[in-house]
């Protein structure tokens, strides 16, 4: 059912949520997190739909914050509960002066002692550290793909990265990364070069390139294709390419040197699936942090110099195994350090 509350307050919304739950006769609460979604009027319908679907997998209190300018301060709410609504969904519309203090409305509505996640399906605030709502959340999801200049958006996010940030353009990569990692499990050859093809302005492709460059310590070239999204990744080895090609956004072909080419399902996932993956883990994603930050020092030159430095330290090691381990270590310790500093802030 949907209950409209006009000219309301946080306390009234809370009271309504409790009243409705009681009258439904099921005071048991299985909700595990609060999801705040910040959007404007134009993004609202699709955000509502995606959050309802994600809520089915993650019963949560979903707070949709829709702000609009206006001369008079106004606070209206719609409480959706029961009848096909998973958990509790509250649409909160703020106008005028209230819209400048959204945290004052949202803070009393957070579920006790459980994670708070915030998602900006469209435009994200430029400096999230200063954003009132962002400060309430332990996980902050942005989507660079929704920005007109995705790469610039990613770089901006790298600059003010705070532990707990993620971007959906990173989430979109998980199946690709899983497949690439599995390919190297099966065919553990030294990778000499990597090339990636994707649609123009695809932030996922930038992140994938950055990830492969930092992990494999090789140069990664990018090419523009007709899409949709990422269309191919080739990793060159002495014996030929490990290639994953997905021309239609659905089914990819997978080739490894010396083995027959095979098909693998690699569907582009929708928001619901992306949100569900994001909500699965509540801890900061250090691999994302490392990858997105590497966009800032981007060029292959720096990678080369870093590799040289590592070789220097590695020489002191005894076994070959040790070398490889050490190569991964600087990244790891760097990531740890950031968590500690941000955590104590």
């Amino acid at each position: 059912m949907i209950i409209n509350l006009e000219g309301t307050s946080s306390a009234k919304i809370s009271a309504e949520l409790i009243r409705v739950r009681r009258s439904a006769g099921s005071p048991a609460q299985g909700m595990v997190l609060t999801l705040i979604i910040v959007c404007d009027d134009s993004e609202f319908p699709s955000a509502l739909e995606a959050s309802m679907a994600a809520g089915r997998e993650h019963p949560s209190r979903i707070l949709l914050v829709v702000t609009a300018p206006g001369r008079n301060a106004a606070l209206d709410a719609e409480v959706h509960i029961g009848e096909g609504t998973p958990g509790e969904v509250v649409v909160i519309r703020m106008r005028g002066a209230v819209a400048a203090h959204p945290a004052s409305v949202i803070r009393p509505l957070l579920l006790p002692d459980s994670p708070v996640v915030i998602w900006w399906p469209g435009k994200a605030p430029r400096n999230r550290a200063d954003d009132e709502l962002a400060q309430l959340a332990m996980r902050r999801m942005t989507d660079a793909a929704a920005s007109p200049r995705p790469l610039a958006a990613l770089k901006a996010r790298a600059k003010d990265y705070t532990a707990g940030d993620t971007d959906l353009s990173w989430t979109r990569l998980t199946p690709w990364r899983a497949l690439l990692a599995a390919a190297l499990d099966q065919y553990p050859a030294k990778i000499k070069s990597v090339s990636i093809e994707s649609e123009r302005n695809n932030p996922s492709a930038d992140l994938l390139a950055a990830w492969l460059r930092t992990r494999l310590k090789v140069q990664v070239t990018g090419k523009v294709s007709g899409g949709p999204g990422l269309t191919s990744v080739r990793m060159g080895t002495a014996a030929g390419d490990i290639a994953i090609t997905r021309p239609d956004g659905l089914l990819a072909s997978y080739a490894v040197p010396g083995q027959p080419e095979r098909l693998v399902a690699l569907k582009r996932r929708n928001f619901t699936e992306l949100l569900s993956e994001e909500l699965r883990r509540m801890d900061p994603d250090q691999v994302y942090e490392h990858t997105v930050k590497s966009l800032l020092d981007g060029g292959p030159k720096k990678t080369a110099s870093r590799r040289a430095a590592e070789k220097g330290t590695a020489k002191k090691g005894t076994a070959k195994k040790g070398t490889a381990k050490k190569a991964a270590d600087p990244a790891r310790t760097a990531a740890k350090k950031t968590t500690i500093t941000t955590g104590s802030r």
């Binding site: 048991a28 019963p59 899983a178 990692a181 399902a265 490889a324």
Partner: protein
């Protein structure tokens, strides 16, 4: 998976988004026309593929006595997947799977059929790049194991080579008593090394069963009271509301104790009662399970502390149902039990003096599996006696299925001016609180077989230990002159089971 030479640079322990994907391999299912195969195995394979957990080079081979071509079999898989898969059907996933589906018609005893099978597998290794990695799923009666494993050996399919693997998966029942279990192990182990034998007890693949370990060993709240200082009885129940259905041929002569107690209930008991393992490595987990199973002993007075029953005809759940003795293809004088209840004691410091009551039955009131720990009453109640009349005992209930979760039961004050205390439940529903709809047990288990990850599979020592516990009870029952006690269908079992608990001053929980 990973090579010994160089760690995979794309893998990172911190990168927990990346799932483990099995390496390219062939899964061969014997008995592919069976119910289990179409309802559980094939859908689980599809669900794994849909979740991106199967490698691009994966092949599924069916072997059965049918005159099918590859595409006929593919059609059968397609139908099974559409009807029973957990995740939505997607054409591209199907395309990936169907490329690697093959069928080998033939008889298990026939040389020619196995030559054909070996050729098919060799072709797949070539065409799909499965690299000599094979898993053989024996979804067939145990009587045929000998023939199949001998055939596999003589056709070179069971050979272990470095860098590739050959595994065999067997389903319960693992024998029908200690001697036959040992025979079965001898047969399988004569061909496959112990580390390549995967015994599937699908209960152990269930999320909630694994959650027993999380609940016990990740929390500080429960472990301090998880012993005989606070617990005074444990009840482990697995009830089914259906009768034997079409399984007459299998069930009669076997009985529910062999079918359920030996594997599922004793495994649940082991997980509930075992000490904390040093780590969740397979060997550590197994060591603790074996220790606790070795400490469990059947009752000395079988007449007082075991109960068996047979469901009678009548009304169950609004339907008129036949009694066990009237079911099709059941001899009218059979003494096979459809209900079993046993008290076990565990002789160690943690559990001495706490009875573990196991019960299972067909045609009971509803389908439910749960582990309930009943706590002692508070040593002193500062209330008037009448205030606490309605107060039962505190309980922690681990609900395994169907409504997976945990229930805490404790006393609370009834609102009003009088002090009246009554039991209330606090529920945690597993399905509700977590993100992914939990994968089917078979998905997890098949993936673990393909990854070669053994913690969830019982080893033969565990199987033998559980037969050692059950054998004396079965022997005692076999020596009884009378029929098992009939019980009303749709009830909670025979009266003798009630009496068995009443003797100790307890009663069965209504699950």
């Amino acid at each position: 998976m990973t090579t010994d030479l160089r760690p995979n640079p794309l893998r990172d322990l911190q990168d927990r988004r990346l799932p483990r994907i099995a390496g390219p391999c062939v899964l061969v299912i014997f008995g592919v026309t069976g119910d289990l195969s179409s309802k559980k195995l094939m859908p689980a394979v599809y669900d794994l593929a849909n979740r991106g957990l199967l490698p691009p080079g994966f092949a599924l081979v069916g072997f059965a006595r049918r005159d099918w071509a590859h595409q006929d079999f593919a059609h059968v898989v397609h139908t099974a997947v559409k009807a029973h898969a957990r995740t939505p059907f997607r054409e591209e996933v199907w395309q990936q799977l169907s490329e690697g589906i093959r069928f080998v018609p033939g008889e298990i005893g026939d040389e020619e059929s196995f030559n054909h099978l070996a050729e098919t597998i060799a072709d797949l290794d070539e065409a799909r790049g499965t690299g000599g990695n094979h898993a053989f799923y024996l979804s067939i009666p145990p009587g045929l194991f000998q023939t199949v494993v001998d055939q596999l050996r003589s056709h070179g399919l069971a050979e272990q080579h470095p860098g590739r693997w050959s595994r065999v998966v067997i389903e319960k029942p693992f024998g029908h008593d200690l001697a036959s279990a040992r025979d079965l192990n001898r047969i399988v182990l004569s061909v496959f090394p112990a580390t390549s034998v995967f015994r599937i007890d699908h209960y152990l693949g269930k999320e909630t069963v694994q959650n027993v370990l999380a609940l016990r060993f990740a929390n500080e709240l429960f472990e301090p009271v998880w012993n005989n200082n606070y617990v005074d009885q444990v009840q482990i129940t697995m009830a089914e509301d259906i009768g034997i259905g079409g399984r007459a041929g299998y069930f009669d002569g076997i009985g529910i104790a062999r079918d359920v107690v030996q594997n599922h209930l004793l495994q649940l008991l082991a997980l509930t009662a075992m000490e904390e393992p040093n780590s969740f490595e397979a060997s550590q987990l197994r060591a603790e399970k074996q220790k606790v199973l070795a400490a469990a002993r059947p009752p000395k007075r079988m007449d007082l502390y075991t109960a068996r029953g047979q469901y009678a005809g009548g009304w169950a759940g609004g339907e008129k149902v036949k009694g066990y003795l009237d079911e099709d293809r059941i001899p009218p004088d059979t003494r096979t039990e459809t209900y079993a209840a046993i008290r076990l004691d565990i002789d160690n410091r943690r559990w001495a003096g706490v009875p573990f009551y196991l019960r299972t039955g067909k045609r009971l009131a509803r389908r439910v599996t749960e582990i309930a720990l009943g706590f002692k009453r508070a040593p002193h109640l500062p209330f008037a006696k009448t205030d606490t009349e309605e107060l039962g005992y505190n309980a922690v209930v681990l609900r395994i299925q169907p409504d997976e979760g945990v229930t805490l039961r404790f006393g609370a004050k009834v609102p009003g001016t009088q002090m009246e205390i009554r039991d209330v439940n606090m529920d945690f529903a597993y399905g509700e609180a977590f993100t992914e709809s939990s994968p089917e047990a078979y998905e997890r288990l098949i993936l673990d077989v393909l990854l070669g990850d053994p913690p969830l599979f019982p080893q033969h020592e565990e199987v033998e230990l559980s037969w050692e516990i059950l054998d004396p009870v079965l022997d005692y029952w076999a020596g009884l002159p009378e029929q098992p006690e009939p019980y009303e269908p749709g009830s909670w079992g025979p009266r003798s089971a009630e009496e068995m608990l009443a003797r100790d001053g307890f009663s069965w929980r209504r699950p």
